[in-house]
Symmetry: D2
Subunit: 390 residues, 4 copies
């Protein structure tokens, strides 16, 4: 192995974690559990894993949960766990979007930290209620915009913040996929059905599912605030009820401009999240499918390939990186970083100290902005692409 | 060498060619001359190479032209050559944009074929006059939208036309550069000065210089007609008089949608022309800097790398390809293909036969559309990005 | 998320795991622990983490181990744990190479399964003793040739086995690094010191540390048996006691030929493990730094990019893959797969049933072959590159 | 266009050129003619284009040659042209290898410059005779090792010479193809037939056809002299009379080591010439299929992508480059550079001045070394891979 290792952080007792949703067959639940395990900061001890009781019980058993802590509803779990001496300290909410708010508020009001999948909610009204609930709670609220956990995304953000790109002029961000090129939701495929159902997903289809990721990533990397947008949304597949392709022009405060494309009907793209940022002094490019690389061109110099933990990779990337350069980290590691950052914050709360400034995780505010972004896209598109303020 | 060669086409007498513009220091003039030479279909025999007489004479001498056919003005050249028994049969016009029309009409009205650099003219009024002049002339008009000469662009066009992508839904096209990131026009650099001068270039900066290429390429590959566009143009560099970055949303007839980005202020991009097209059955991607590759994903199958003259490369690419797969052709070869297609058409005219249907070159109509595209971008941007019909 | 998820496998009680080596500052110990955690099949409950007692205790505390199960030596751990009712069922050995055999035999003879880092031992005599100890034990022996856990390596192996490449003719494998370009071992860097010390590493430097990986990967993918080799080894850095660059020509049984290059002095390479295999019907290419891709060219057809869990990716890759295509898995996931395959085998032993044939992990036999490869390289090089039989 | 152009070099009268071989259907003849035309330094005025008289005549007519200068044999051409007042000043020899010497000597002894395709001859005896003939002649001898004409190969050579890589330790060079994966020579394909025929090609198959290119490229870039080699050659295709795959270990004077692989049976490779060079201070990588890029890693810094004429690209590349960065040049341009360098040298001879030191072209000495390389490979392989001195 090429370089000196760094060991796990000094041991705090693991954080007791519950989970809402994520029963058998749910992709994202398994991802959250692997993410919570990787850095050994959490113990999953309770769950309300499905709204179908038998499935909830079976899923709890599969995960090795104590049957007495496998609950039939999130509300029951919140009430009971809050009374236990060693009840859960945090809960992961991995249900479809429309359940997020109702579930989260039960935990927030009992002081249990919430780790919530994105988008925050299925509509802006709920998002604002969520923010209120989070603000009024003593608990932390962590939104798993997982792509912000990639080391080279942190590197990009650090470089922008340090002025290595100069003043930002142009942002190009895109998230194309191809899995909804045909009408798979009409075949009953679970992941497709809820994502194309306005009742479960909200007003945005591709905009809500992946456009929010693109929007959030651009904000995270550049630190820019979106001022307004003009959007042209389509549902190319006949019978589809939500957008499956979106073209969006962006205007940021301070004069930077951008374009955002998200699509679920672009053959050849699996999860093609990509961001490019250009400033007066340089440009960068990062692609999610090849996440250990960051391309950086200082204006007038050759393009450079910065690798995770390699030469040119700085502190922000290093602190969320586990292994040496040249050995790739992936999606699960980035997701785990969100959990580990959450653990650092929760441990600080446990100890009554301030959270270290280096700790970064997406918050309820990011979530509100994401839902507002989706609703602005829909509103603009309905007004024939007129500019809509955020 | 890997495969059987194909020899030059059977010999017709070389076409006698003149050139307007392209004196010493002019990048594009040298390119046109190399392009005209490569396939040995033209003899450069006359020139009005500069509007500065001494420079015109010196440039003619450098190129080995007969001094008696080195002219001080394009008008003089047109008049005199038209009277010669062995006068020029075709002329290349490689001046700044605003001169194109005035120069071309002198040759067109005398039946001399015109090969004209793009964009067609610096404004739509001139473009329409150019079309009228071309239509009224018995001569051919070839616009050097050179990227259409790349074999894999021909391949892409053929695949779309053959239905291999199904019905087209989404077009993503971009042409970023970085050479105007700083205010180089204020240093007097010749190439930068005229390209940022409305009097010489017209209303569009990046839109005219490179946006037209992107627009033309999308039209060429997809065969789609642009119905309307919404544009957001910027001049990021202080004091710059024309746009140096443009974000454009596209609506094609028949329902396809697109995005177009062109920029001269994107550090890390040299000539980053790239097109991606997505249909109901597949997607393709082509990048000008790596022109011998075409990525093709039939929906539901692995991505394939089609190489020029390699497996999967068809007749349309093969007929404009000179060497075996694995040996790269480049920009000059693509440019030469425009000249060679022009030669095929001119030879047909010489012989009084119809031009073979396989022969393709951009026409005055493409040029009018390109100038209309630029003016629509400028108009839309002035109306805060409102949709403008083409 | 693009596709239906698959959940964790049905729950068996976690396997109780101990660890030898891997105290603070040891890169590979932390990797083994993350790998053991990811799929939730193991509980780390005991450790002899360092040969320095204070460090062993501190490291155990950092990892949250019960102090009564933090041992000062592997022998003590083996004796004590074997007597416990809930003592460890398996042990991970992550020390420098020369300790592997002495440590492993203590556990093997007590029926405790051994998961051992590679190379198997620092010399062939020890390797053969290890094999004897493993064979005489009722316990399993798993060697963590972790690259065999990458899904697309499994895919490659499956394709070769299925005859998709036809009869194999040529193998090109390489593992270049650059971290020993300068004499870092003379600065005291721990990872460099033991890897360049014959007493700790054995007769091979780059050959032992990374050449064995390359050799093993070629054998794993192709299923071919190496018949003989001719090697030219160098220690380019002055004062270095072991090879830091090796050129090896390979002859496989059945007539296939190969080349192997490993280097620690190749600037620009972090962990550049790469394999290419060519047969009568096709060729493949895989690169460790971009592990979710497998390039496949059926002879006479376009090159195809097969992605993990994407189109064209088969059962062998799918069963060791956790997340949908387009979301990258990395080094830790591949390493975790070795652990999870080990868990599957251990669970079969627990239940007294045969191990499923689909379960694959490197064995002590692979380890013996690896050490024999290193010694053959050294022997050939000493004989001026004469062919040495394996 | 991104940068100021540079115009053609000031005009010397074009050099009168003849050609031996290269009639209809000959791939390489057409390449030589395009290469000679591109920079407008030559006029093709005579030819002995085929050993079949009718074909020679027809080919001359297709090329527009004066019938009186279309000859039935190279000897006739040499004799007659030497007597003409405006006879050819240089001749291109593009026949199969075994004809090179007999043809070239006829021109050399008459003081006509020779531009000869590689390899120099089909055996070392002829090669030495060729050198003698060239040395005794007042004429120049240019060998078209065309890959040395690529700008980024010149860049690589310049960087090595300038010490940017430090002392060279390791060279990895390869040239895989796949076009002889099956026994196409048995179908009568002309290019395959002569390349697999010892009488026409010499003792080497892949070693002669492409291995010489790889060997020459390594020498050109590094400036190193090969001291000895150990080779393992195969003819994988049944019935093939010459090697179609070669593995070669290299030892250079001064201690650098290398590996060379050439193959015609590696599915997925078209013309996969690639070179990597590693020194004490850095490493570089260049790939012929993507020739406008040079990867450079200064040890301890991020990898850099140097592009032709872009930032970091120096004088050696710039003087053989025609167009701005980002617009790719290809194989024909590199080949044309050999011709243009030849023209510069010939023009110096015309003027009785010394050739500018910046002018570089492969010579008869390079050719002798190339043939010696092939024969050493064959000799080593026959001696079971023993080291053979060059």
């Amino acid at each position: 192995m090429a370089i000196e290792g760094k060991d796990e952080q000094a041991r705090e007792p693991r954080i007791r974690l519950g989970m809402v949703g994520g029963g058998a067959g749910a992709f994202i639940g398994a991802v959250h559990r692997m993410a919570a395990r990787l850095d050994d900061q959490f113990d999953l001890v309770a769950g309300a894993l499905s709204s179908t009781p038998e499935k909830a019980i079976a899923s709890g058993r599969d995960l090795g949960l104590d049957p007495s802590r496998t609950y039939g509803s999130y509300k029951e779990m919140a009430i009971r766990e809050a009374r236990l001496k060693d009840g859960i300290e945090a809960v992961s909410i991995v249900t479809p979007n429309h359940v997020h708010y109702e579930a989260a508020k039960e935990f927030l009001k009992r002081g249990i930290h919430v780790i919530c999948d994105k988008p925050l909610t299925s509509n802006l009204a709920d998002a604002k209620k969520m923010k209120k609930a989070a603000d009024e709670s003593g608990a932390l609220f962590i939104l798993t915009h997982n792509y912000t956990g990639y080391p080279m995304v942190r590197q990009a953000r650090e470089m922008v913040a340090n002025g290595e790109l100069g003043k930002i002029r142009v942002v190009q961000v895109e998230y194309p996929q191809d899995w909804l090129t045909e009408a798979v939701e009409q075949t009953g495929a679970k992941q497709a059905v809820w994502r194309t159902d306005p009742a479960q997903s909200g007003a945005g289809g591709s905009t809500g599912d992946i456009g929010t990721h693109a929007y959030n990533l651009a904000a995270f990397v550049t630190g820019l605030t979106l001022e307004s947008l003009a959007a042209d949304l389509d549902s190319f597949v006949e019978g589809r009820r939500l957008d499956d392709n979106a073209h969006v022009m962006l205007r940021y405060e301070g004069g930077a401009k951008g374009m955002l494309w998200c699509s679920q009907v672009a053959p050849g793209h699996e999860n093609g999240l990509k961001i490019r940022v250009y400033g007066t002094k340089g440009g960068i490019e990062w692609v999610q499918a090849d996440p250990n690389y960051l391309w950086f061109t200082p204006f007038g110099e050759p393009k450079r390939l910065i690798t995770r933990n390699g030469a040119g990779s700085g502190a922000a990337a290093g602190r969320v990186s586990r292994i040496p350069s040249g050995h790739p980290e992936g999606y699960l590691e980035a997701f785990a970083t969100i959990y580990t950052e959450a653990a650092r914050a929760i441990n600080a709360v446990r100890q009554g100290v301030a959270v270290d400034k280096a700790v970064i995780y997406p918050t309820v505010d990011d979530g509100v902005k994401g839902v507002a972004f989706v609703e602005a896209c829909v509103a603009s598109s309905k007004k024939n692409g007129a500019w809509v303020k955020l």
